[in-house]
Amino acid sequence: MEMVVVAPPAPGRIEDLRRRFLATPLQALLSLVSLAIMVFLAWKLLNWAIFSAVFTTSGGPEACQAAAGACWSVIAARWRIILFGLYPFEEQWRSALACVTVVVMTVLSCIPAFWTGRRIALVWGAGTALYYVLMKGGVLGLAYVGEEAWGGLALTLFIFVTTCLIGFPLAICLALLRRSELPWISRTTGIVIDSVRSLPLISILFTFAIVLPFALPQWLAGDKLYRVILGSALFFSAYQAEIVRGGMQGVPSGQEEAAMALGMSYWQRIGRILLPQAMRNALPATINQFVISFKETSLVVIVGFFEILASGNAAYGTGEWRFAYVEVYAFIAFIYFVFVFSLSRYGAFLERRMSVGER
């Protein structure tokens, strides 16, 4: 008699739910507790944020304060200061455009078609230049706006972009120095990298902002903003150097030997054989580092920069909106969340795709 293979009957809906959530008493308890927590939090949150919230500015701050839920009118009233800081009102469209430039630049960097050294350098170079021209002006008929007036989200993005732009090549240099066969060079670099990594970022920013002018001749001291960016880039590069070095260690030594046997010079070997493969290995960790770096730009508030956190503090300030700190912080948190979450999700996606490719 022929054997006919039949699929087992699919479990009914109720059976399925029972199996997944109520299999044992412990499971049932866990499911119930989790469900209770989720429902409770969701209800409280939705109630506060949406159902009882005030969205319009008609009543002004007093009416808003009296409301039981969130007071989102503070955002409607103060969003300009949060996003652009003290940037002149008529020129704020330039600030907005500059932010869009950064977003476009980041998105382009994530597309594999752009993943050669030359193209990435082009994208980041052009993007940063465009950003700078838009923000600072003074050319092409745009009014001049000095760095002191830069603030809010635009300043956060600027610090992030320049930190990565300076920090990344520096990281590659440090990684190459660290793996040098010459003992003095590799050990000294190792000490530098490890020391920088041991220190808190805040102390490095503080040192560069306040202490460094003492140790530099007058003509080299420069603007506080650029000193702080340099400090931030140094910190970034110390961590990124270790990531790149890890990627390099994942490239089999035979690759460099084959390149040597073919007569390639040191820089030819590094540029065409070692780095492309190393960066491919290090890509997920690199994206993670970029995400961390973006979050850490918020620390410059401590050395007195009017980036988005400081402008948030100013937005609710001590005036009529001082009760609305939760809404302001939630708004800023949301902005960070959007950037950071999308970047880290992309990183996770890349990691999964790359591990699938490996045999």
Partner: protein, 387 residues
């Protein structure tokens, strides 16, 4: 000459000398210029300033401190503050992280969802924003006269006041040691027992140890009571302010809570990673031996996951200790803030920065050394393991 430059060995030596030489030159030049600039402002170099009194106050200190104390005392207080906040933050973060991490690895989908939501939300918001938020929240609480009250504890905008035993400093320290022993004893006793001992017996020994330590602590407190004072000091309103009890300042609470929540989200991921790395084969072997799921967890999954987690956890702890420097944003006088205030008030910039770097390098190296020892002690022996 040119043939000399084409020599590999000559090139190598030259490169090394140039490299180290330029770095040394840069550092020396920087120090020289800084010294000259500072001297122009009438600030002398050297560490004598450490014995001068500061003339300013700290906002938080476990040890007595006044404006008349010397700088070196304040630096010590700063380090203790950093370590104290760090330890409290670490413990809270580990607790939170373990719970969320276990939720993330549980077989229950709802628990997993809850855990994932927690991690996704709190990992993606910068720590300093969270610190600001909690600080704003606490400082917007009602003032002392209209404080929230529960079980003798008072929650106000000036901080959390809790009833505290009225005992001398020495007794306090001893009682604290006894409390730590109460927690550490079961772990220690569990470590040296064997599987051959029945579970019930082991558990009784561990509980007995904890009970003994707790009894010791209580005894010390009772004996160490300050004369003419009740055993427990309850905070009460006197005039416009609260007096008595232990005040936990808003800065400390904000930092501790933020570090606990943010650090917890990272630790949750580390816990999850640790459990994921436990080989499926090991678990299957344990199950096929007839062990119950709970035993599989405690005897196989947990020990192996712990060994995988430890190096990454060590890294995270180092990061969390460094994160205490955010105290300066809310006015908590940790080690870094005291260095910053020192530079502001005394102008001894180079020396203070040197002390700062030395301090953090020491903390990091010690932490790394401790974790290395723990790692070595619990590491799986031999190197023949495959897969």
């Amino acid at each position: 000459m040119s043939s000399l430059l084409r020599n590999q060995k000559v090139r190598n030596t030259l490169l090394q000398v140039l490299f180290v030489g330029s770095i040394a030159a840069l550092v020396l030049a920087g120090v020289a210029i800084a010294r000259r600039n500072l001297a122009e402002q009438g600030i002398t170099s050297g560490f004598d300033f450490l014995h001068k009194s500061t003339g300013w106050d700290v906002s938080f200190s476990l040890l007595p401190a006044t404006a008349n104390d010397p700088y070196w005392w304040f630096f010590l207080i700063g380090i203790i503050n950093t370590l104290f906040l760090g330890s409290v933050g670490l413990m809270l973060a580990t607790t939170v992280g373990t719970i969320v991490g276990l939720a993330r690895t549980s077989s229950n989908e709802l628990a997993r969802l809850l855990g994932r939501t927690y991690v996704d939300i709190f990992r993606n918001i910068p720590l300093i924003l969270q610190v600001f938020f909690w600080y704003a929240l606490i400082t917007h609480l009602p003032p002392p006269r209209s404080a929230h009250e529960a079980w003798g504890m008072l929650l106000t905008s000036r901080g959390l006041y809790i009833p505290f035993p009225n005992v001398g400093g020495v007794a306090m320290a001893l009682a604290l040691a006894a409390l730590i022993a109460a927690v550490a004893l079961p772990v220690w006793l569990g470590r040296t027992s064997h599987l051959s001992q029945p579970v019930g017996e082991r558990l009784i020994i561990q509980l007995a140890g904890t009970a003994a330590a707790l009894a010791c602590a209580a005894l010390i407190l009772i004996v160490g009571r300050l004369p003419d004072a009740p055993l427990i000091d309850f905070p009460a309103l006197q005039g416009l302010n609260l007096r008595g009890g232990l005040r936990i300042p808003p800065e400390f609470s904000a930092l501790a809570i933020a570090i606990a929540i943010y650090g917890g989200s990272y630790i949750a991921e580390i816990v999850r990673g640790g459990f994921k790395s436990v080989g499926k084969g090991q678990v299957e072997a344990a199950l096929s031996l007839g062990l119950s799921p709970w035993r599989v967890f405690t005897l196989v999954k947990l020990p192996l996951a712990l060994r995988a987690m430890l190096p990454i956890l060590a890294n995270q702890y180092v990061w969390l200790i460094k994160a205490t420097t955010m105290g300066i944003a809310v006015g908590f006088t940790d080690f870094f803030m005291i260095v910053a205030l020192t530079i502001n008030h005394s102008g001894q910039t180079l020396e203070a920065i040197g002390i700062l770097m030395a301090g953090f390098l020491t903390i990091n190296l010690s932490l790394a050394a401790v974790f290395n020892r723990i790692n070595k002690a619990i590491a799986l022996k031999g190197n023949q393991l495959r897969g």
